[in-house]
Structure formats: structure tokens, C-alpha cells
């Protein structure tokens, strides 16, 4: 396994759209495993392939407190959404930035698992929010897109400044 580099906003590659995975083979499974390792290392609850510069419909997550309930979604599709809830969230591509975003309270997603087997999952709370957040990434959408242009601009400036300082 290997740690992958997480792209940081405003990297334009975060706006790329992910392609459907045709067959879940060893190569895809390697990407999944690396994504899990990267996500755990960064203390994230979810990670989309786009964030590690892989333009494929893959997302991994673990919202458990014990960090032992990994979930992998390949070619996810949200088939049902219900309700709205506004919660604070952050993103591994936006270090140190948190903002309130309204997302569905409950949703149903269908996808393939790490072995390529189809499954359906009903989710609510943090998991639903996380699935929605990662699924956005696969379409090139970011959580700051839900904020006002002014707030988005401020976050962009902050992260650009941070990037300059770490160089």
C-alpha cells in the first residue's frame, strides 16, 4: 500500500469529472486500498478518487469512532434523497476550513463494493452527509460551491496563502 498525494483547493484537477469503472480488477482494488490508507492517515472520514488525482468513480469512507468500519463505493449512484439538514463539515482538500452545508438528511445509494459486487445502502446522519459530499467530488463539485461567492473567495485566499507559506 502507499500513501497518495491529496490535491488541495484551488487545484483545477479537483474540478475534473470521474469516469465509470468498467471492471473492478486488481488495479482498482489497489487504488481503493491506497485511498483507505491515505484517508486514515489524514484523519478524514471520507475520500473521493478525484482528490488523489485518479479520475474514476471511486469513494471510500469510515464514519465510525473506532475507525474500523471501512466502506468502499465504486460507481456510486444516489437513487433517493430525503429531507435537509445543515451541519458543519470540512474536506481533506481544504485543510483547516469548516463551513455549514445543507445536505439531505437521508439517502439511498447503490454502488459496487471492493469485489465488484453490487449493493444498496440506506444512510442517514453523518454517513449520508459524507456519501453526498464524496459523490459531489466525483462530479467535480466541492463543498465551497454551496457557500456564498464572498465566503468562497475568502477561503481561496486563505488556502493560497497557506500554500505559499509551506513552500
Amino acid at each position: 500500500m502507499a500513501l497518495l498525494n491529496i490535491l488541495r483547493y484551488p487545484d483545477p484537477r479537483l474540478r475534473a469529472k470521474a469516469e465509470i469503472v468498467e471492471t473492478v480488477d486488481v488495479g482498482i482494488q489497489k487504488i481503493v486500498d491506497d485511498m483507505f490508507e491515505t484517508m486514515y492517515e489524514a484523519h478524514g472520514v471520507g475520500l473521493a478518487a478525484i482528490q488523489v488525482n485518479v479520475q474514476k468513480c471511486i469513494m471510500v469512507m469510515d464514519v465510525s469512532d473506532t475507525r474500523e468500519q471501512p466502506l468502499c463505493f465504486i460507481n456510486p449512484e444516489i437513487i433517493h434523497e430525503e429531507g435537509h439538514v445543515a451541519l458543519d463539515e470540512g474536506c481533506l482538500s481544504f485543510p483547516g476550513v469548516y463551513a455549514t452545508v445543507t445536505r439531505p438528511e437521508k439517502l439511498t445509494v447503490k454502488a459496487l463494493d471492493r469485489e465488484g459486487k453490487p449493493f444498496e445502502l440506506d444512510a442517514e446522519g453523518l454517513l449520508a452527509k459524507c456519501i453526498h459530499h464524496e459523490n459531489d467530488h466525483l462530479e467535480g463539485k466541492l463543498f465551497v460551491d454551496y457557500l456564498s461567492p464572498l465566503k468562497r473567495q475568502r477561503i481561496k485566499k486563505k488556502l493560497q496563502k497557506m500554500a505559499r507559506q509551506t513552500l
Binding site: H43, G44, V45, G46, L47, M61, D65, V85, A86, L87, D88, E89, G90, C91, L92, P95, G96, Y98, T100, G125, L126, K129, C130, H133, E134, F143
Partner: protein, 448 residues
């Protein structure tokens, strides 16, 4: 995605875990700092909310009960915790009340419980309106007034009728920061001078030879020489163990329940010419802490030191067959003497834990006695204020063990017991509650 990190939300989740799953603050907070990206001010607020709410939990709980018309459902325990956190801020913090009410109510929404926003808001506003009447009614409920669980109030009352209020008041104070100077590197006088030059106000503690009390707590990164191993953070009462061991050149020494290694390292600082020092702990993870501390104090190269992950009472598992001249048994205990440092103890400890702990203490003492050399000394220590874990354990042991005798501690700290001495919280500001007894093993076993 990363989790949100609103300090009030996070604090209520922490409190929820302590009360529902029995996990300690010391375990929860480090992983919290890893999983959330806090700014320093936010982090300080989370810490203050967590520690403070635990410290006053039994009082806040009483207030909440008066203010809520019916108890919340168990699945909404996180909202309940948030209410307690709100009350804590109103009672004990300098934050403007309208900001407390507003921010805490908003946090309910971030917990995913939008319905609770108005409830939290109403409870906190009602508290503000009824504050005087509530503080009157507090006086009639001792557990709430002193912010201790009822069972512990009763045990302290029974054991220390003359000191009960002072003990509980001391338990509710914020602990001071006490340092231990590494005398291998620096004398206490020189280090005091160094602190003075860094404009940190500090005084020497008379009863503990290496101890310095800081007038104002600060972070370890501000303490000069901390990372170079010039000093350690350790309560003054805990520093008494090294004195009582009366360490001499060439001795074999055992530290039986050693993690995180505060007393282990003190032993080495005091006597560099030991034959060996064996440090045991049954928690391998906590044993790592000893290595860290040895490393920081540049004591890890010492070939005489050996750390072993083992249950000290299971002698066959770890003992090399040679007797020890000195044994320190800092026994696992209720930790009721260090509540000011670990206020979550009030929530985590239960009345029926004490009997189990006493059994473990008895078992450790009897087992370790067998590996003590005739003519050697064993120091029995706990950070408990309960006689059941202290004087009772040692008295019973002396009654049954014919080759054991008490060696009276000649000191000006603490309270003399039938056997040993007890330091109580509140005796001296630099001292946590501790119990010490020194036992000597007779050279010739008497025939029985």
C-alpha cells in the same frame, strides 16, 4: 470529508462518551486533537469545556434536572450533555451569557438535532432567570453542592469527617503545575534562577526536595529545558516516593506498576549507581510512555533499566529469580486523591469498584513481598484517599505477614495513620492526595 469541529459540539460528544461508554478524558482527548483541525483558541475551549463540565458534573446535573420538565430520551443524551456544557459556561466561565446561550443552542443544530435548539435555548434562559432560587436549593443537596457523586461524599465523610469539606473543595480546584528538577542535570536553585530569567514565577516546595511549584500554569513548551530533559511535570506528593525508597549504591530496585514512568525516572535521577531497575506494567501501550520519558530525560541508554510488560503479581511470568533491595508498589487505585487533575474520575469510578481494587492491591502486595530481600524495603503507595485501599490493606498485611514490619515515616507532611501517612487534597496546594507506607522485611524469618 473531515468532521466538523465546533468546540461545543465536540465537547458534548466527548462528555457523551465519558458518561455512556466510560472512556476517560486522557484517552479521548489525544485522538480528538488528531482527528480535528483545531486552532489553538478552539482547542483550549474544548479542553476547558470538557474538564470543567466533568469537574462540576454532579452540580450541573442537579440544575438540569430542576430545569427540564421531563428527562430526555437516552438517544438524546448528547443534547443533555450539551445542556450541561451550556450551564457550565454560564456558571463558571467569563463568556458573555447571551453568547453562551446563542452558541450552545446553535451547537444543537450541528449535532444534527435541530429540534433541540429551542429546548437548549429555553433551559439556559430559564437558568438565568431562576439562578438565585436554584443556588438556594443547591444548599440542600450535598452531592450537588459539593459536585461529587453521592457514594463518594459518603465514603469521604466517613473516612475524614473533619476534612470532608476541604477535600472536596480541593478536588474542585484547577490543579497547579508542579515540576521536578532532574538533579543529574541541574540543581533546584539553578533551575529556579533559570525560571526567574524566563519570567516564570515559581517557588521551591519544602517537603519534596526536587519540586517546584509554578505560580501560574503554562504549557510544557514554555517551560525552559523541558524537551532537553532538565525537568519533568509531576505532582509534589508523587515525588515523595523517591525519598522514601532511601536508594543506595548497588541496589536492585523494582518499580512494580511503573507506567507512565514518572517515579521510575525519578529513581534514576536520584541514584545513578543502581545494580538494576526493573519497571513493570501490565499495559504494553502505557509502557511505551516510560520509554518516551526515559528518552526525554536521556536515561534510556542506561543498561541497568529494563521495562517489562507484565502483571507484577504473576511473578513466574517475569521474575529473573534474584531478590530486590527496594520495591515501589504504586498500586492501581481509585485515584480519588487526584480528582483535581482528572475530574472525569467522578464520573468513571463507581462505588463497587473499590472492593475489586482492594483485592488487586492485596494480591500485588502479597506477591511482591516474596521477591523482596530480607533487610529490604517496600514502599506501598496509592493516589487514593480511601482507607479501604490504603491503611486497611497494609494493616491486614502486617497482621498476617510475620516477617514484615512498618518503618515509620519521619516527615512533616500528611496525616499519621495506624500504618503509614496520608496526604489529603487541600493539605498543601502542591500536593495531590496520596498514601504512603514503608514496610521492612526482617532479616530472619520468625518461626510460626
Amino acid at each position: 470529508m473531515k468532521r466538523s469541529s465546533n468546540p461545543r459540539v465536540v465537547a458534548s460528544q466527548v462528555l457523551h462518551k465519558i458518561t455512556s461508554a466510560g472512556v476517560s478524558l486522557a484517552k479521548l482527548l489525544p485522538s480528538l486533537w488528531q482527528d480535528n483541525a483545531f486552532e489553538p483558541a478552539q482547542r483550549a475551549l474544548v479542553q476547558e469545556l470538557c474538564y470543567g463540565t466533568c469537574r462540576w458534573y454532579f452540580q450541573l446535573e442537579y440544575l438540569a434536572t430542576q430545569l427540564l420538565s421531563k428527562p430526555l430520551r437516552s438517544k438524546d443524551h448528547d443534547v443533555y450533555c450539551l445542556i450541561l456544557i451550556g450551564l457550565y459556561q454560564l456558571q463558571h466561565m467569563q463568556i458573555k451569557p447571551y453568547a453562551v446561550v446563542n452558541e450552545t443552542a446553535k451547537a444543537a443544530k450541528l449535532l444534527g438535532k435541530s429540534w433541540a435548539v429551542s429546548l437548549v435555548n429555553a433551559v439556559l434562559r430559564n437558568y438565568q432567570r431562576q439562578q438565585d432560587a436554584l443556588s438556594q436549593s443547591l444548599k440542600n443537596n450535598n452531592s450537588a453542592k459539593m459536585a461529587h457523586p453521592q457514594w463518594l461524599c459518603e465514603l469521604i465523610q466517613k473516612a475524614w469527617p473533619q476534612h470532608v469539606d476541604a477535600i472536596m473543595q480541593a478536588n474542585n480546584q484547577r490543579p497547579p503545575l508542579v515540576l521536578r528538577v532532574n538533579r543529574r542535570v541541574c540543581s533546584r536553585e539553578d533551575y529556579l534562577q533559570r525560571l526567574h530569567e524566563s519570567e516564570i514565577e515559581a517557588v521551591a516546595i519544602e517537603q519534596a526536595q526536587d519540586a517546584i511549584l509554578l505560580k501560574k500554569a503554562c504549557s510544557v513548551s514554555e517551560i525552559p529545558g523541558f524537551y532537553e530533559g532538565v525537568c519533568s511535570v509531576q505532582d509534589a506528593a508523587a515525588q515523595l516516593a523517591a525519598d522514601l525508597l532511601d536508594l543506595q549504591v548497588g541496589q536492585r530496585v523494582l518499580d512494580a506498576c511503573a507506567a507512565p514512568g514518572g517515579k521510575t525516572t525519578h529513581i534514576l535521577e536520584r541514584q545513578s549507581n543502581l545494580a538494576c531497575l526493573h519497571a513493570l506494567d501490565n499495559d504494553a501501550q502505557r509502557l511505551e510512555k516510560i520509554h518516551e520519558n526515559l528518552q526525554r530525560l536521556a536515561l534510556h541508554d542506561d543498561a541497568k533499566v529494563k521495562c517489562l510488560a507484565a502483571d507484577a503479581a504473576d511473578i513466574t511470568a517475569w521474575w529473573d529469580g534474584e531478590l530486590y533491595d527496594r520495591i515501589l508498589l504504586d498500586a492501581p487505585c481509585s485515584a480519588t486523591g487526584v480528582i483535581r487533575r482528572h475530574p472525569d474520575i467522578k464520573l468513571l469510578r463507581q462505588a463497587d469498584d473499590i472492593a475489586g481494587l482492594a483485592m488487586q492491591q492485596q494480591r500485588l502486595l502479597s506477591a511482591l513481598w516474596r521477591v523482596l530481600k530480607p533487610g529490604g524495603k517496600l514502599v506501598y503507595a496509592t493516589c487514593s484517599v480511601l482507607p479501604a485501599e490504603n491503611v486497611d490493606i497494609v494493616s491486614v498485611f502486617l497482621d498476617t505477614q510475620k516477617d514484615a514490619r512498618e518503618m515509620t515515616i519521619d516527615a512533616d507532611w500528611g496525616h499519621v495513620q495506624k500504618v503509614g501517612r496520608q496526604v489529603l487534597p487541600g493539605d498543601e496546594v502542591a500536593f495531590d492526595g496520596f498514601y504512603y507506607a514503608v514496610l521492612g522485611k526482617n532479616k530472619k524469618e520468625s518461626k510460626s
